[in-house]
């Protein structure tokens, strides 16, 4: 449930050239949370001269402002997207990618961005310090950093031939990681589960799909899997030079939030030493730690965000 009482507008929107802001009505846009849906909001905003005071997702939207419900129509979003890319290809890319970031109020930042693009043309994109573009550029940098790290930090486990991994990113990175992992493991079958956004990327035989999955139960790892996890931990510990010990440097490059899904940082017993007898193995609770990777914690109270 989103309650929209506060008003947050980018300064640019107050400041300017596009006439008397009073001629535009303030409304709350309710849409399906998709990128296409957002572009339709932009379309309707211009058609009805309505200013999006806030955006909210598919859930109940309770606000003192008028709520406009937007349906996603292919014709409309294509028209908006084409109008953006025809002004600047880079701008189209920025808008599309920024929609995957975890920037708070990203719809509003993007709305201001698109508006400035229509009003002034794309030259302001050259300046990353620009008032409207800067928060977006910063969010993109943050996401690119996360992508770069995750390409290396994703840890697969072999579940009888199928590779599986879980991640906990801040940004919605799966659609952007898709190309990299599908190219690298072209001859394998694999899945990556995003715990934060409850999304699953599945790939097999040249085809990949991204779908919403509320929770994921992983099977117990086999002996061979445990063996290679043990070898990897051995390697990880042996490669470090004791005289150069530098945890501060390690934390900088490998922030602790990534370690919850990385084999080498999980506690020893979870990583399956052969010393655990099979009977205990089987008795492990279903909801808890399976195969060294803790099951996702599901917060019942949190409804999906507007971003979806």
């Amino acid at each position: 449930m989103a309650i929209c009482l506060t008003v947050r507008r980018s300064n640019y929107l107050f400041s300017t050239q596009w006439g008397d802001p009073m001629a535009w009505r303030d409304v709350v846009f309710q849409y399906d949370g998709t990128f296409e849906g957002f572009l339709c909001c932009v379309f309707e905003s211009y058609v009805h001269k309505e200013f999006p005071i806030a955006f909210c997702g598919d859930e109940d939207c309770c606000s003192l402002y008028e709520v406009r419900f937007i349906t996603t129509e292919t014709e409309k979003w294509k028209r908006v997207y084409n109008s953006i890319t025809s002004r600047s290809k880079a701008a189209g890319d920025i808008v599309r990618r920024c929609f995957f970031t975890c920037l708070p109020d990203k719809e509003q930042h993007l709305y201001a961005f698109i508006r400035k693009l229509y009003d002034e043309g794309p030259s302001f994109i050259r300046n990353p310090a620009d008032e409207v573009y800067h928060p977006i550029a910063k969010a993109l940098r943050h996401m690119n950093g996360e992508l770069e790290k995750l390409r290396g930090f994703v840890r697969f486990s072999d579940y009888s031939g199928v590779l599986g991994a879980e991640i906990e990113p801040k940004n919605r990175v799966l659609p952007l990681l898709r190309y990299h992992f599908c190219a690298r493991y072209a001859s394998e079958s694999f899945f990556i589960y995003d715990r934060t956004h409850k999304e699953l990327l599945v790939y097999a035989k040249g085809h990949s799909r991204i779908m919403q999955v509320d929770s994921l139960q992983l099977a117990l790892p086999g002996d061979e899997e445990l063996h290679f996890r043990m070898l990897w931990r051995r390697f990880f510990n042996a490669i470090s030079i004791e005289e150069r010990h530098n945890p501060r440097c390690q934390n900088t490059f490998l922030p602790k939030r990534y370690r919850g899904t990385m084999t080498e940082f999980l506690p020893q017993e979870e990583c399956g030493h052969s010393s655990i007898p099979p009977s205990i193995d089987a008795a492990l609770p279903n909801c808890g730690a399976q195969g060294g990777i803790p099951a996702p914690v599901i917060h019942q109270e949190s409804a999906p965000s507007a971003a979806g």
Binding site: D158, A183, S187, M262
Partner: protein, 422 residues
């Protein structure tokens, strides 16, 4: 001996090698093969060990049963340490299984000298061939060319690996003679020259024949040990520059000497590795490769070493105050790159931003400029940053104070009231 023990021993023996990058080559995945090398231009780090170094490749020795007796090396034959060797199949299986789980980007294969350089290289070739041909591995491979190997074997190795490297280890011939009596300067430089020539020739062949086999497409690199001998920073930097120029190296790595063996010729066992010095050398190396500096500009005969408490660029700027301040709005990109606190990325952003708008001091931070360093050296539209107070006499202290926050505690300096100012 089981595979886990072997892995521990041979990793432990390989850890002093600094090179662990997967950069320099983009190869798409091929049908029927495992992997690619397209992750990004700068390579891809898969983890970071407790010493803060990146783990990109499975870095192991083929064997640590070395017949040489280099004084600085942990694998010297007179050292009492457990010995082990991988069989080609063990190594190939380990690489493939680690790669499938996304633990690594590829393999880094080095080796102690087993019997003779030629025999060792043959073993390495057998392992790499099995990995490439039988296991169809298409990921990154970095292989060491052992000094003294015959040219035909180096050639075969280069056809299997993406990058080759020959370690110089000791930056001067004199050091080499005293500490590594089995190696000679010629034995090290010959394969380097051969690799350079073959890579060049191979580039030409690839233009003519699309499917010509590629030889070390990611070029070659080397490593220098810092702190085992008495060589100055200036000597090391000049050597580096000539290696980049003459031998077309992609990277030169520096490795702070960690005392591993007791020897009258070496620093004693309780010496700490000169990590700060190594860091300064890496910074200077970047200045050579990305900032358009020359080694002779950075250090001269009167100042053969860097000030460890100051980064090399600030060190240079302090000696050349006549070139500053630089105006952000008008300076060309080469001049901007020489300002402490401005790097290639922020310089590019400044040049791009000022085409569409008037840059103010407040914007510089958003453009990625490190203002606490840059502020002393720049003006914006002819004016210095408001409220900034300094003189050429206090500048050194102010810059050192900026740096102090970034240094580890043991390296930080106690301030003194009585130090000569400036």
């Amino acid at each position: 001996m089981d595979i886990a023990q072997k892995l521990s021993i041979l990793t432990d023996a390989a850890k002093y090698d600094a090179a662990c990058t997967s950069s320099g080559v983009r190869r798409a995945s091929r049908p029927g093969m495992i992997g690619n090398t397209t992750s990004s231009i700068a390579g891809c780090c898969h983890s970071f060990s407790a010493d803060g170094r990146c783990i990109t490749l499975l870095k192991v020795l083929m064997s640590n049963a070395c017949c040489y007796d280099c004084a600085y090396c942990v694998n010297r034959r007179s050292n009492d340490t457990p010995r082990a060797s991988f069989t080609p199949r063990e190594l190939a299986e380990l690489t493939i299984e680690f790669y499938r789980r996304n633990y690594i980007e590829g393999l880094f294969l080095s080796s102690g000298v087993l019997r003779s350089p030629d025999y060792t290289t043959e073993q390495m070739i057998a392992a790499l061939r099995m990995l490439r041909q039988e296991y169809r591995f298409n990921g990154y491979i970095h292989a060491k060319a052992i000094p003294g190997t015959s040219p035909e074997l180096v050639h075969q190795l280069g056809l299997l690996a993406d990058r080759l490297s020959v370690n110089i280890e000791l930056p001067s011939q004199q050091g080499l003679q005293t500490l590594a009596p089995d190696k000679t300067k010629e034995a090290i430089l010959r394969p380097m020259g051969q690799i350079r020539d073959t890579v060049r020739e191979n580039k030409r062949e690839l233009v003519k024949y699309k499917h010509a086999p590629s030889f070390a497409p990611a070029g070659q690199s080397t490593q220098l040990i810092v702190g085992a001998t008495a060589d100055s920073d200036r000597h090391i930097l000049h050597l580096t520059e000539s290696l980049y120029g003459k031998y077309r190296l992609k990277r030169v790595f520096y490795s702070a000497y960690v005392p591993v063996v007791e020897s009258s010729l070496l620093p004693s066992l309780d010496t700490k590795p000169p990590l700060l010095r190594e860091h300064r050398l890496y910074q200077a190396d970047w200045l050579l490769r990305f900032y358009g500096f020359r080694a002779q500009e950075l250090l001269d005969e009167d100042h053969p070493d860097f000030n460890p408490y100051l980064d090399p660029k600030a060190h240079w700027a302090l000696g050349h105050l006549e070139e500053f301040p630089v105006d952000i709005l008008t300076a060309d990109i080469e001049t901007l790159l020489r300002v402490p606190g401005i790097g290639p990325v922020s310089a590019k952003r400044i040049v791009s931003a000022r085409r569409s708008t008037y840059i103010r001091f407040e914007d510089l931070q958003k453009l990625g400029v490190v203002m606490k360093r840059a502020q002393f050296f720049i003006t914006c539209g002819g004016r210095m940053r408001p409220g900034l107070q300094f003189s050429s006499a206090t500048l050194l202290q102010q810059l050192e104070a900026v740096e102090r926050g970034d240094l580890p505690h043991s390296e930080a300096q106690q301030l003194s009231l009585f130090d000569a100012v400036g």
